[in-house]
């Protein structure tokens, strides 16, 4: 040892920067570590949110971070996800279901003080529709009269759009058609109330400049790739029921790290399945911390119907009828439910009709009728599986391998797997540069139309090249129908046409929601089909020692 010390002591001049570097590093470390109070509740929220501006958010992790910050006319019930009174304390709906009158709370206030009025709401909705703002979720507003035309720039006069503020505490909304999910929609983050003055003053970066918030929490800070820290908004009308004072929403990219932190009791809740290692799900399923519940999501295969032989419905049905969905789901997504339909069973206003079944015999007959007996002469198709990062990517490829095997065995046809990076895959899907493609969809609101609208001709998310006059007719008719029973029947017929008769898609399973939280450590966590978990209801149960 003394040899070493002496040697270091006699280091040549240039090496004197070593101790200097060490001191510098420590100094920076200490400077970087401002002592912060620990959070009262720590939640692993997933990837980095791209934004916290309700206008810009689209990803689930962004929507989750925005929910506590801004509130709309309604807010989601923590247990069921359905709309509860939010900034509006009550409302009336006209008998034809097209006119809503909302009455705002007189005690609704911004986090910086000052009342929230109906003018704030009209501003917020107009901001979504303003064409230059290019809001990606603007289509959610289309039930509102004139909204689509205004967003497309065809209607210039905002006064003709169906939202008005007759006085400071009343908002009137007029819809084109009855919309059974309109109250739920008013709770959706995009439609929440945002502060006009701050946005006009600070432009693109307003959210980072301590603006007023309308929700249960205000943003204390947002450190990219670290955390979003929220502090209880004491001026929120329901602040008395906000159960945790400081909440950290942690950014997390590695599932193993998420689980380490959870096991080490440094976090209270893990939201989302991709945030725990897939291989460990069966082990975790045996613990009381594991919670899974049906949600509005479907995992399915898109078929490009513009390419022969896939333009023949018999070929598409043959592919669909051979897939053993229960087996596939059991092997790859064991927490999920196998799907013969595109609309999850738990969806509101939904009536289930006949779906895709497994019938390999019929499949072989259909394939032979289409001119490929025993798969003879069938061209080699490719299956597009994107690598959407981590466990998800491997899952997509495992599905591809299963399908490849099934179709070779049952139909005698060959499928080649084409693995692409996410963005490249999206472009391939959009431009119909694929044969078969892995897909999924999470519903925006609790109604079958959030799934069935996808496959109308004009929808940008159709991406199969498929359209059908009868389907268009049924969807249009359902949209104008006020009687929910009749409407459900029309939507049922549309879905049957889509999945049973035409099969431009092959549903594989319905997604399940998932949270990891100990019933003895955390309360206020519920599972619901919208997979929303309002933070104001959640708190860490104080341990007996610290009580």
């Amino acid at each position: 040892m003394p040899v070493l010390l002496n040697a270091l002591g006699k280091l040549p001049g240039a090496f004197s920067f070593l101790p200097l570097a060490a001191v510098l590093a420590l100094a920076m470390l200490v400077a970087g570590c401002r002592p912060e109070p620990p959070a009262d509740l720590t939640v692993i929220n997933g990837p980095d949110p791209g934004s916290l501006d309700p206008l810009l958010v689209t990803g689930i992790e962004e929507l989750r971070a925005v929910l506590p910050l801004f509130e709309g006319l309604t807010r989601p019930d923590p247990a069921t996800g359905r709309a509860l009174p939010g900034l509006a304390e009550r409302w009336e709906i006209s008998p034809d279901g097209r006119h809503y009158t909302f009455h705002l709370r007189t005690n609704a206030a911004w986090s910086t003080g000052g009342p929230i009025t109906s003018a704030d709401l009209v501003y917020s909705w107009r901001r979504i529709l303003e064409p230059t703002n290019a809001c990606q979720y603007v289509n959610l507003m289309y039930p509102l009269h004139g909204a689509e035309a205004y967003a497309a720039g065809q209607l210039k006069d905002f006064a003709q759009v169906g939202v008005r503020a007759p006085d400071a505490h009343t908002v009137e909304a007029t819809l084109d058609n009855p919309c059974p999910w309109f109250l739920d929609l008013c709770a959706f983050q995009t439609l929440s109330v945002v502060p006009r003055a701050a946005i006009e003053r600070d432009g693109d970066q307003w959210i980072m400049r301590h603006p007023p918030f309308s929700g249960a929490y205000e943003l204390e800070y947002w450190r990219i790739s670290d955390r979003v820290r929220l502090r209880r908004n004491e001026r929120y009308w329901d602040a008395a029921n906000t159960r945790s004072r400081i909440v950290d929403l942690l950014v997390m990219s590695s599932p193993a790290t998420a689980l380490n932190l959870y096991e080490d009791h440094q976090v209270d809740v893990i939201l989302d399945k991709p945030l725990v290692p897939t291989e460990l799900l069966p082990v975790l399923a045996k613990t009381p911390d594991y919670h899974t519940f049906p949600m509005l999501g479907s995992y399915f295969v898109r078929i490009n119907v513009t390419r022969p032989p896939l333009n023949d419905p018999r070929v598409r049905r043959a592919l669909a009828l051979t897939v053993d969905k229960p087996r596939l789901t059991q092997r790859i997504a064991p927490t999920c439910e196998p799907a013969d339909h595109i609309v999850p069973g738990a969806t509101a206003n939904y009536l289930r009709g006949e779906g895709q079944h497994r019938d390999p015999e019929l499949a072989r007959r259909l394939l032979a009728e289409a001119g490929f007996p025993g798969g003879k002469g069938f061209p080699k198709l490719s299956y597009l599986a994107d690598s959407s990062g981590g466990g998800g990517g491997r899952m997509n490829e495992r599905v591809a391998v299963e399908l490849q095997d099934t179709w070779r065995r049952e139909l005698g046809i060959e499928i080649e797997i084409r693995s692409l990076e996410k963005k490249v895959a999206i472009v391939a899907q959009r431009t119909l540069d694929y044969d078969l493609s892995r897909s999924s969809w999470i519903g925006d609101y609790n109604d079958p139309s959030t799934f069935l609208d996808l496959f109308t001709k004009a929808n940008g998310n159709n991406r199969t090249g498929w359209s059908h006059p009868e389907y268009e007719r049924l969807m249009r008719k359902a949209a104008g129908e006020a009687d929910l029973g009749k409407r459900a029947l029309m939507l049922r017929d549309a879905e049957t046409l889509l999945v049973r008769d035409e099969a431009p898609i092959i549903p594989l399973w319905f997604e399940s929601g998932f949270t990891l939280n100990s019933p003895t450590r955390v309360e206020g966590m519920f599972g619901n089909v919208l997979d929303v978990h309002p933070l104001n209801a959640i708190r860490r149960i104080p341990s007996p020692a610290t009580k």
């Binding site: 290019a134 990606q136 380490n260 932190l261 963005k423 472009v427």
Partner: protein
């Protein structure tokens, strides 16, 4: 004069690097606003692209970017649309810098003594044991070491926190994970340098002159033997300071390493360019520093 020329040379080099990466990025299919969910309408998409000037020809976009960059504005990130590129780098760089410096200190602090002793005790068990560990640290990748260390020291022993950044203890595991590979490289370079130096003429002369073995090793051999390490430390430091995707993801550290990968995945053009330039500048500056150190250490090296 030499260094002035080198610094002046940076300017055209950075221009070439920025224009090349600008062009390469645009060749990749998909853009920042291509998500699973299509924009509400083609019109929305058009407006979105227009808002960030993505509808202009590439050379025009580059000109616009260059003009802004010369005024110190590297633009808004296209993924983090409430943040500028400068903001993101300002937030992440200090974290990556401190982690990188710590790891550098660890690599040099462990690597040099290990290399030194394994060379001096060549052929003995110290050499065999040390060389084996060195080989191990080079071969086993960070994504194995990191989780392993977290499992042992955080989950089993509860000595250290398993992840996150903010307290000094939280820096230990990432520092070791990041520094271990480099420590191995340094140890090997040091061992080779030392072995070669010990066989050279001037060492024989020094010994013949009756100098103590200690003086021979430290005062004469070490100076020359450490040269390969010095020239390696430039790129190593640049590599360490710009953060590591693997280590930053394993320990969820808010540095800039994750952005180097993620920004190209999300086609966040301005952020990619900003980071590429940052890396280029760091690398070039570090190499310059190494050349400086060479001049100080080796009397045979002269710059005019």
């Amino acid at each position: 004069m030499f260094f002035v020329k080198r610094i002046l040379f940076l300017v055209p080099l950075l221009l070439v690097i920025s224009s090349l990466s600008f062009a390469l990025l645009r060749l990749a299919p998909g853009g920042p606003f291509d998500h699973d969910r299509a924009p509400a309408s083609p019109e929305v998409e058009r407006l979105l692209r227009a808002r960030y000037h993505l509808d202009e020809p590439v050379w025009q976009q580059y000109g616009r970017w260059l003009n802004d960059a010369l005024h110190g504005d590297f633009g808004l990130s296209l993924k983090y649309r409430n943040h500028t590129v400068t903001d993101i780098i300002r937030q992440g760089l200090p974290v990556s810098l401190s982690l990188g410096l710590l790891a550098f200190g660890f690599a040099v602090g462990v690597g040099i003594p290990v290399g030194f002793f394994t060379a001096v005790r060549r052929g003995e068990w110290v050499d065999w044991g040390g060389s084996f560990l060195v080989l191990l640290s080079i071969c086993v990748p960070g994504f194995v070491i990191g989780p392993l260390l977290a499992m042992i020291f955080a989950l089993k022993l509860h000595w250290l926190p398993p992840a996150l950044w903010g307290a000094p203890l939280q820096a230990v595991l990432p520092m070791v994970t990041l520094g271990l590979y480099f420590a191995g490289r340094v140890a090997r370079l040091m061992r080779e340098g030392m072995t070669q130096t010990l066989q050279s003429e001037f060492i024989r002369t020094a010994r013949a002159k009756g100098l103590s073995e200690f003086a021979v090793l430290t005062r004469h051999a070490f100076r020359l033997a450490v040269m390969p390490v010095v020239s390696y430390s430039g790129p190593m430091l640049a590599d360490l300071l710009t953060g590591s995707f693997v280590v930053e993801s394993i320990f969820q550290i808010p540095g800039i390493g994750v952005f180097i990968v993620d920004s190209s995945r999300s086609r966040d053009y301005p952020l990619v360019i900003g980071l590429v330039l940052l890396y280029a500048v760091l690398l070039l500056v570090m190499n310059l520093v190494v050349d400086l150190a060479y001049g100080l250490l080796d009397p045979r090296v002269k710059y005019d």
